[in-house]
Amino acid sequence: MKAGVDVGPTNTDAALLGHADAILSTVKVASVPGDPVASVTAALGRLGAPPLAQVAVGLRGAASAVDDRRGLYKVAVLRIGGHEAQAVRPLFGWPEDLLRAVCAGTAIVDGGGGLDREDWTPLDTVAVARFAAGVAGRAQAVAITGLFSPLDAEQELEAADIVRAELGELPVALSADLGSLGLIERENATVLDAALSGFATDVAARLAAALSPVTAVHVTRGDGTLMSLEHLARHPGLSLGSGPASMLRGAGVLTGLEDAVVADVGARRVRVGALAGGFPEEAPGGARIGGVPVGLRIPELIRVPRPFEPAELAEAVDRMQPGADRLPLVVVGGGERAVPGGLHPAHGTAAGAIGAATSPVGGQYERVVRLPDRSDLPAALEAVIEEARASAVRAGADPRHVRILEAADTPLAYLPGPFVRLRARAAGPPAQL
């Protein structure tokens, strides 16, 4: 048997699932303020479940830690890019209070690359060591962003080794693990990822202590797939958007719909999002968290505070409609009765818990390649698909059952060649212990 848990700001839901994901029971308990792990154990305790093979959790703690500037680690921000990366400094445009909560120093060192192999310059290892020594005692985590690292992460890894040699074991976030081309957004995501290390390591360790070793524990990430606790501890930023993503997935599972607009009616507000192909529709043009543009994949949501006028909600639902063909509206969440129209599936009040319990473990990979010969595309795309598959396995997917959700190629504008952006997403059921 397996269970899903959705930790909300007010309530925590849990669902117990049996053979073929049949829903056996659901419960709702009051969340323990500021303690998602206690909320999870309380909900599972109420569920009164026998030993579970698998528990998956939708968390909202990461986003609120950033919003409230609470429990964030001080981050040393290192950019590998040499003089060409000087014009816009790290953390440019961050709100003053978030900057104060997070920044333990910044530096730009020589190194980094380009689209072509010959464009790479060597990493200034001495400058990396000097920077690390300079932030010793102040930095609780390090964020490393290398120019063009989504094409080749080697220098980020090398810099991480130097930093660890200088500062000992501390969380080091690498931008290549988090985002695609677009230095500023990827760097911002990496800094947030490092800042959330304390929160994530704590949650991962306590969840593991409470539930492992009998149970395989996973956490929903912003793209709607799951990751293991080890993966959460390494990449905390990926859990941003976890709660809403679980809810959207659950609405799809409960109705059998792959495409729908979903209203999650909470105690204080309604969140309206959309499902596309069974996964959350992501915010276009990148997400903003804490006022900062970040290159992370999180669900696009419109929030309508309660109480609301029917017209307000109708407008939000209409704005999330993806096409001229009207998609069905699915209404879920503890307050679903406040919205009369739409589909109200059974167990909809625990949609987030059910979404977490039934989601696959995911991974993705993206890179830009030069393909003068168009016939080389299938081989290049196959390599990217393999990386996405490996990424899913690293996040905890069962290697025997990983499948490809999406594989796409988009030519880059204004370049002959052509240069093509290749992207693939993969997912599979959690590997059993």
């Binding site: 890019g81 003089h83 060409e84 990366a85 000087q86 014009a87 816009v88 440019f92 445009g93 380009g114 689209l115 072509d116 464009d119 120019l147 063009f148 081309l181 677009g182 230095l183 500023i184 959309a274 596309a276 529709e281 276009p284 043009g285 704005r319 409609q321 993806p322 096409g323 001229a324 063909d325 830009v368 168009r374 988009t410 030519p411 880059l412 504008a413 204004y414 370049l415 002959p416 060649g417 052509p418 240069f419 093509v420 952006r421």
Partner: protein, 352 residues
């Protein structure tokens, strides 16, 4: 004459994005560069074309290459000056003014950063009045001004000066060099004398971009219709409002070609390469390059780039008349629908 300070940049960049007609690169990074340059060197003086002396040496500064690369490899701010200095060395005289070659997209902002760094004034105008993908697609080509010597500078410190037999050849050589130089270079080319500006530039387009961006911002703040505000500032005509229901992309001859299908009251098809170039409503052509086909997010009035076109976006398409010199036979030969490989002739926009 007036000054451009940091406070003008947000509006100007927003407007320039709309004038990019789906291409030209997101002005965002350019805006950060211009802001940083103004912070260090002070505001930039902006002159009307009529205020520029007849013997002035006016140098367009721009970036060439892939906006995607620009988002990763932020210019250091030194490349523009390196290109300018390389060009001046060949010309044997100093630039007196800087001007944008292209007001649409990121190339509206890069000359502001360059002018601040060089300590030179900027001219209010540009050589396209929109965004186009190739170096010869500028009004100076129509009056016989050569776009060479064309100086290119990369982030590593390399510079290259191209001398070519035609403006098309300069584009061809410059583009190939750009790929070798890391797919993003700074350019100084198409030098104009002060007395050539009236014929070689679309006037007051930086001011237009600022007015446009401000109108969209104010409309949003007042919960009014930002798309209507933009249409009014541009003297454009609303062609369609609907949702993107299909996007198809393919690559032909090294250039990305795509189509987007919109559904609303009827059907609408956008054909794009780097910019939106052709629009059909219920099968009939309603807008073609060189007129501006601007695709805006219906709710926010923000421009939607061709790379960002995706299923589900709610957009409004507006058509804006191009500078009339573009619809001359020579202008259409440079930038009309047939140059871009479409089997149709230019068709003026429907009346508003």
């Amino acid at each position: 004459m007036r000054k451009i300070g940091i406070d003008q940049l947000d509006d100007m960049a927003r407007g320039a994005g709309i004038l990019g007609t789906g291409g030209g690169g997101d002005p965002y990074v350019g805006k950060l560069l211009a802001r940083e340059a103004i912070r260090r060197h002070g505001p930039v003086t902006l002159y009307d074309i009529a205020e520029v002396p007849a013997d002035a040496t006016v140098v367009p500064i721009s970036g060439m290459g892939a906006p995607t690369v620009l988002l990763e490899k932020l210019p250091a701010g030194t490349e523009e000056l390196a290109a300018l200095r390389a060009l001046e060395a060949v010309l044997g005289r100093k630039a007196t003014h800087i001007v944008p070659i292209e007001v649409g997209g990121v190339n509206s902002m890069i000359p502001i950063a360059a002018a601040a760094q060089a300590g030179l004034p900027l001219v209010d105008g540009d050589a396209m009045g929109r965004a186009f993908p190739e170096a010869q697609m500028v009004l100076p080509t129509l009056i016989g001004v050569s776009n060479t010597p064309m100086a290119l500078a990369d982030d590593k410190g390399n510079t290259l000066v191209v001398d070519a037999i035609s403006n098309h050849w300069a584009e061809r050589l410059g583009r190939a060099a750009c790929v070798q130089m890391g797919c993003q270079v700074s350019c100084a080319d198409t030098v104009l004398r002060g007395d050539q500006l009236a014929d070689g530039l679309v006037p007051a387009t930086l001011t237009l971009a600022e007015d446009l961006g401000r109108a969209v911002r104010l409309a949003r703040a007042a919960h009014a219709d930002p798309v209507a505000a933009a249409t009014s500032v541009l003297g454009g005509v609303k062609l369609f409002a609907g949702k993107v229901v299909d996007v198809e992309r393919r690559t032909t001859g090294g250039f990305a070609r795509g189509k987007a299908l919109l559904a609303g009251a009827g059907s609408f098809e956008l054909s794009f390469q780097n910019e939106h170039l052709l629009a059909r409503r219920d099968g009939g052509i309603v807008a073609t390059t060189p007129d501006l086909i601007c695709v805006l997010d219906t709710d926010t009035g923000e421009p939607v780039t061709t790379e960002a076109m995706r299923y589900g976006l709610r957009v409004t398409v507006i058509g804006v008349p191009c500078d009339p010199r573009w619809t001359s036979p020579a202008g259409l030969e440079l930038a009309g629908p047939r140059y871009f490989g479409y089997d149709c002739d230019y068709r003026p926009l429907p009346l508003a």
